[in-house]
Structure formats: structure tokens, C-alpha cells
Amino acid sequence: MAGDDPAGPIVQLRRRVKATAEEIFELWTKPDLMARWMSPFPGAVDCKASCDFRPGGSYSLVMSSEEARREVSGTYVQIDRPRKLVFTWMGPLTNHVNTLVTLELNPRGDETDLVLTHERLPTPEMHVGHTKGWGHILDHLAEVVEAS
């Protein structure tokens, strides 16, 4: 759904956000701000973020509550401030398999259309078949969420 030749299932969310692309971009890239919204634990008990913000640089997020701890890490693939950010993502959500997250920010006046795409990367086995996309029979597996 995102890109012409997706290699696996894709989750895509779209939102119109009442903020500029620059303001949103900051939330995704400054560790002190990342820590304030990226944790899945209510009340943000403890969240530490760090990032080496350059293509090829890595980031990590450690989020903990009293009984659980989650760690997410990855590498920045593409940085096009403030329009696009692409990074790999590995954590409990992806069963510690490397995945790819793309954030696109398209200004609409003083608001911004945010498109978030999270896709699984092809495994080595997947290359065997010289696959060209997933074909329409798998379209029902790709979710496009239109929110507000």
C-alpha cells in the first residue's frame, strides 16, 4: 500500500495533526520529547531515549513501569527534515525482528498530514522467489487506517 512494491504486510496510519511539520518532527527526534509520548505505559513511569541523529546513526528507547520493561532500538535510514523520517525498529512489538518505520509529514496550511507506515522487512527466504509485491489477494491483510 505504501510504495509500489511492498515486500510484506504493511500497517499505515494517516492523521491530520494540528501542528506544523517542524513541531511534529521535533517530537520524533529529540530524546527528551520522544520520552514524553513514546512509552506505552500509562503515566510515563520511566522512559529514557537516546539518539545519534544522522543517517546510519542509532537510537534506543527504554520504557519501564513497575512490572514491565520494554526496549526499542533501531537505525536512522533517511532524514529529510521536516518532511520525512525513515528508521528501522526492533522491539517486543515486532518480536525483535527488524522492521521499517516511515514518517511522512505533509504541510496543509497550519496543520499537517501525518502518514505513518510500519512494514516488515523481507526475510532472506523471501528473496528466493524474486517476489514482485504481494498481489491483490493479500490486500485484505494490509490495513489502512483513516483517522479523523
Binding site: W37, E143, V145
Partner: protein, 132 residues
């Protein structure tokens, strides 16, 4: 792929998921699934539309069986193939969890944006990043 079959019983959710993804990553195998999504069929019926040997199609079918996506039943001399729709639940599960995770994160992001705007209004001098 044979390894995947051997590991199947022990496989973690990740490995099963990867096996399903790998099985689905080939156009011939997707075409086979598409055929079977219209109803169960004999191996020979499934192979018919492909410009390849029955043996080549059978290899693809075996990969699909190993991943758990396709099941084979013997009815007399016929081998009947059908889709195990349950096997696709793992894929749907990943999509559902991931979607739900980001929905909540984006809610939190928008909440923080509102908070930051309030802070900004009450203390405009603290604004660190000026526009242009």
C-alpha cells in the same frame, strides 16, 4: 523451507510468522492460494493453469504446506488441497497489534502537542526553536 518444516513444532510465533511470510513471498504460491481461496481443489487442478511441470508446482505446494498455509487431505486417490485460514491469523495479529500500538502512540503525541502549546502560551520566552 525443509528446515522450516522441521522446526515447525518448536517454532516460536516469530518463526511461524516468518514461514508464512516466506511462503507468501512468491507469485506462484500466491496464485495457488488465490485459487484455493475460491475453494478446495485437487493438486492437478491447482497445477493446471501454470506453465510449469507438475513437479515444480508440487514443490511450491510443499512449501505452502510446511508453512501451515495449505493443508492436504487424501480422498481415495485424490489429494485435496485447502487453505488453513487460521495460519493467516498470525499475520493479521501482527497487523492488529502494530496498528493499535501506533494509534495509541499518535494519540499521546497529539496530547503532548497540546500540552506544549499551552506551555508555550504561558511562557513564550521558553520557546527554544524559532521559525526560520
Amino acid at each position: 523451507m525443509i528446515e522450516i518444516e522441521a522446526r515447525k513444532d518448536l517454532a516460536s510465533r516469530t518463526e511461524r510468522l516468518d514461514a508464512v511470510f516466506a511462503a507468501l513471498a512468491d507469485p506462484t504460491r500466491r496464485a495457488i492460494i488465490e485459487r484455493l481461496s475460491r475453494g478446495e481443489a485437487r493438486v492437478t487442478e491447482v497445477a493446471e493453469p501454470f506453465h510449469m511441470s507438475l513437479n515444480a508446482v508440487s514443490k511450491h505446494i510443499r512449501v505452502l504446506e510446511a508453512s501451515g498455509v495449505v493443508e492436504r487431505q487424501k480422498k481415495g486417490r485424490d489429494h485435496i488441497l485447502s487453505i488453513n485460514t487460521h495460519s493467516l491469523d498470525a499475520v493479521d495479529g501482527w497487523i492488529g497489534r502494530t496498528r493499535s500500538y501506533w494509534e495509541k502512540r499518535l494519540d499521546a503525541m497529539e496530547q503532548l502537542l497540546r500540552e506544549l502549546k499551552k506551555e508555550q502560551k504561558s511562557a513564550p520566552k521558553d520557546r527554544k526553536h524559532g521559525r526560520r
